[in-house]
């Protein structure tokens, strides 16, 4: 295979990586400088994970690593060696959206969609810790991600609707 300039190491150290992404084991070799986000997007073509600021501020790149929501722009792929990585592509079952995604659609929790995958992954990790039942908790759960379009109202409604679906009345 001819050397692809996008993936060539430019004389840098190359390492072998293996981890699990959305349940599938993955093995590849990469320039050691590359972030987990870049491996996901460039090598695995999982472009649902977005890169906004690339310095930890916006949250667009949030994925779940070993059960914890993290910034994939602030993790070397090498640091994900052996880890279990979940991305937005792992949420839906085929064409069927998961409950959180469906709530986003229902409550207009997105406009341009750039921030959406990051919010979905942050909230997926948060909701596994327990239900979000008040607006305060919802805003707290949303606070590590930035959305430039929605004004967050739809996002808060989407999260609280899940509490309502589970029979718990959201406390406003």
């Amino acid at each position: 295979m001819p050397e692809d300039p996008a993936t060539s190491s430019g004389g840098c150290e190359v390492i072998e990586l293996s981890f699990v992404v959305n349940g599938e084991p993955v093995t590849l070799s990469s320039d050691v400088r590359v972030s987990l986000a870049e491996i996901l997007r460039r090598d695995l073509r999982l472009t649902g994970t977005h890169l906004g600021c690339e310095h930890g501020s916006c949250g667009a790149c949030t994925v779940i690593v070993d059960g914890l929501a993290v910034r994939s722009c602030l993790m070397l792929a090498a640091q994900a060696q052996g880890a279990d990585v979940e991305t937005v592509e792992g949420l839906a079952r085929g064409d069927e959206l998961d409950d959180l995604q469906a709530a986003f659609r229902e409550h207009h929790a997105l406009q341009c969609g750039f921030c959406t995958s990051g919010f979905l992954m942050s909230l997926t990790a948060r909701l596994r810790e327990g239900p979000v039942v008040s607006e305060f908790q919802a805003r707290e759960a949303l606070s590590g991600n930035i959305c430039r379009c929605t004004g967050y109202v739809g996002l808060v409604d989407a999260v609280l609707s899940l509490a309502a679906d589970s029979g718990k009345e959201p406390l406003k």
């Binding site: 150290e13 050691v32 400088r33 914890l68 722009c73 602030l74 090498a78 060696q81 590590g144």
Partner: protein, 291 residues
């Protein structure tokens, strides 16, 4: 965004890590949680030839909590420490301070020791460590020393850590009986660095203050001990008048500079207000102190 080329090392034991750091000297940087180092590498504010990732060292995970106090090892993540209920009970000030550090997604990776080693003047944990009288344990190949927090922070992003040394542990002594503390801050947005933060601990003797430690973040190159405010409360009942005196003394000797985020005068003002509010929180926590 890509860092300048580096060689990546993943030592399997502490011994191996210390030998690597000794051998590579100034050409190496320690990689812990990476939440400060990776952005700096991306912007090429630093371009070390070698990264020594301490993330694989099981010896450096977690912490020890016993009679003597809390020993937080180098790879204990901020969020793990924040969520531990026993730590929260024994060191409420530490719990409160960590909750102000960035966002949960960043605290899931960032380490307590990494924040201390990074020594950002607007960071919450360095000031908290000074307030708690912590000691930093520094290890090198064939040696180890302990440095009190008050001597550890030397300037912006500059600490007592020497080339070849690793901060392996932060030791926080058990609080004296009758002591309580809190951390308050003002920042532009939730998760941002502090414009001003205040870490305050008070030891009560009956209804009076036996000892106080009040330390501000964000107002000087290193954590600023508000000595005049401490003196204003020691030996006194925490009534409203004492709190006001502490507020006005807090900025004595403090000369915060203007920067992109806020003017120095604003920071002085806010420091005083936060000192008063933190003492107010403390007196409501410690029933005996409320006059």
């Amino acid at each position: 965004m890509k860092p300048a080329p580096f060689r990546y090392h993943l030592p399997a034991t502490l011994q191996e890590a210390l030998e690597l750091l000794a051998e590579l000297g100034d050409d190496a940087k320690v990689l812990a949680g990476g939440q400060s180092l990776l952005p700096m590498l991306g912007y090429r504010l630093t371009a070390p030839a070698h990264l020594v990732d301490i993330g694989g060292l099981s010896e450096l995970r977690g912490w020890e909590l016993d009679e003597a106090g809390l020993r937080i090892r180098a790879m204990a993540r901020q969020r793990e420490v924040e969520l531990d209920p026993d730590i929260g009970l024994r060191f409420p000030i530490l719990h409160a301070a960590i909750a102000h550090v960035a966002h949960a997604q960043i605290r899931n990776r960032g380490t307590v020791c990494g924040s201390v080693a990074h020594a950002d003047p607007a960071a919450e944990l360095p000031a908290t460590m000074v307030a708690l009288g912590a000691t930093m344990v520094l290890e090198r190949s064939g040696g180890r020393r302990e440095v009190p927090a008050a001597d550890f922070f030397q300037f912006h992003f500059t600490t007592a850590i020497e080339t070849g040394e690793l901060l392996t542990e932060v030791r926080i002594p058990s609080p004296r009986s009758g002591s309580t503390g809190t951390f308050l801050e003002i920042s532009h947005r939730k998760g941002d660095f502090a414009l001003v933060g205040v870490a305050a601990t008070v030891v009560a003797d009956g209804d009076r203050v036996a000892a106080a430690r009040i330390v501000c973040a964000g107002v000087a190159p290193t954590p600023f001990v508000a000595v005049a405010a401490e003196q204003a409360v020691v030996g006194r009942v925490l009534d409203d008048a004492t709190l006001l005196v502490a507020q006005y003394c807090a900025s004595e000797g403090m000369s915060p500079t203007d920067d992109f985020h806020a003017e120095g005068a604003y920071r002085r003002q806010v420091a005083g207000v936060l000192v008063r509010r933190s003492l107010d929180v403390i007196r409501s926590q410690q029933g005996a102190l409320s006059a």
